[in-house]
């Protein structure tokens, strides 16, 4: 018997809302949305945790500029605070080396991270999910039943076609979907209309921000981006304020 899943409910007991930022495909800006959502919530005075579960391509630490931070230990692992966010990532253990693991290893790593990390009391735990609906997504649904999914997509058919599948799977498993965010928006209402047709709340659009790339890794610069301003509007639509 694997004992680890039994303690995960206890680890999540002090967490009011668990929000998994997910997408059907890679490259739509999931990690940027997850990191800046955490940053915006923290800025508003909420107690926030951020866990990067994209084990093949962790990048929240790049967005937030995490350099020297390391977890502490006290009856488990205590995530360090970065920009007011309790931040957990596989990079503390894998460094900048590639983590080449098959699915069973990904599932085991996620279970281990969830079992040993002590978040304490949080208003929000943001999970940055890998793209698609593989091991990580299935494990989060199984191990943290109160998770709500927040889906990120661009208006491109290449993304929306996979989003439909992701939403179908979440509905079938009766998993909560908080809504969909459009990233790299160009002012069209196409995605908004498609989202409404799927019966999912459309939470807002983040306009393409040409200065965003230069702001990566600097909290000061990120706070001045139009990306963060758009996230602010979305936070209000999520019923978080």
């Amino acid at each position: 018997m694997d004992p680890r899943p039994y303690v995960i409910g206890k680890r999540m007991k002090g967490v009011r809302r668990v929000i998994a930022v997910a997408a059907g495909k890679g490259g739509v800006g999931k990690s940027s949305v997850a990191s800046l959502l955490a940053l915006e919530l923290s800025r508003r005075g909420y107690r926030v945790g951020l866990m990067d579960l994209d084990l093949y391509g962790p990048s929240d630490h790049v967005v937030l500029g995490v350099r020297e931070a390391r977890p502490g230990e006290d009856k488990g692992v205590i995530p360090p605070e970065v920009s007011g966010i309790k931040f957990m990532s596989i990079i503390y253990y894998s460094g900048n080396m590639p983590f080449a693991s098959r699915g069973v290893g990904i599932g085991n790593s996620i279970t281990e991270l969830l079992a040993i990390t002590r978040w304490g009391n949080l208003d929000f735990l943001i999970l940055d999910m890998p793209p698609g609906f593989g091991d990580a997504t299935l494990d989060v649904i199984r191990l943290i039943p109160k998770t709500e999914f927040l889906i990120v997509s661009t208006a491109s058919k290449l993304s929306t076609e996979t989003v439909k599948k992701l939403i179908g799977m979440l509905k079938e498993k009766r998993v909560g979907v908080a809504g969909l965010i459009e990233n790299m928006g160009a002012g069209s209402h196409v995605l908004m209309n498609q989202t409404k047709a799927l019966g999912i709340p459309f939470l807002g659009s983040i306009k393409y921000d040409k200065n965003f790339e230069q702001s990566l890794g600097s909290e000061e610069k990120l706070l001045k981006t139009s990306f963060l301003k758009d996230i602010g509007g979305i936070v209000s639509n999520l019923g978080m304020v």
Binding site: M1, D2, P3, R4, P5, Y6, V7, K10, E73, D74, K75, G76, V77, I90, Y92, Y93, S94, G95, M97, P98, F99, A100, S101, R102, V104, G105, I106, N108, S109, E112, L113, A115, I116, R118
Partner: protein
């Protein structure tokens, strides 16, 4: 004290199992510790005892058997099987990382025969409950 977190997992899972089986008393827990996770047995045993005391009469008198399990790895590229050992010159920091997340061994280790990082942990990964006895 990462051992404490895993000991909590053991006690909660045994507690859940005992309830399901309608046990009033747990008498024995047999735990297997995979060598790869390099759990400190004494700290782990102490944590099991301390945490069980907080759980009420279910764990009033019980025995904990802890057995170590050798770690065996199998290369998915060439099929080579080999025994893992911390004595195999793994730097201390890498050992510490594997202690927390055994799967990061893929970052720090390769198949000794073909050099591939694509291997599986056949056995001896981490904490496992082998049996629970009670009444």
């Amino acid at each position: 004290m990462h051992e404490w977190a895993l000991a909590e997992a053991v006690i909660y899972s045994v507690s859940g199992f005992a309830k399901k089986k309608e046990m009033k008393k747990v008498r024995e827990i047999e735990i297997v510790l995979g060598e790869m996770q390099n759990i400190d047995k004494d700290i782990f045993r102490l944590a099991i005892n301390d945490i069980s005391k907080m759980q009420g009469p279910l764990f009033s008198i019980f025995r904990v058997k802890i057995r170590s399990e050798k770690t065996v790895l199998k290369c998915m590229s060439c099929g080579n099987e080999w025994a893992f050992s911390f004595k195999n010159s793994i730097p201390k920091d890498d050992m510490e990382a594997i202690h927390f997340i055994p799967e990061v061994s893929h970052v720090y280790m390769k198949c000794p025969k073909c050099g591939s990082r694509d291997f599986e942990i056949v056995r001896g990964r981490g904490v496992r409950i082998k049996s629970v006895k009670g009444e």
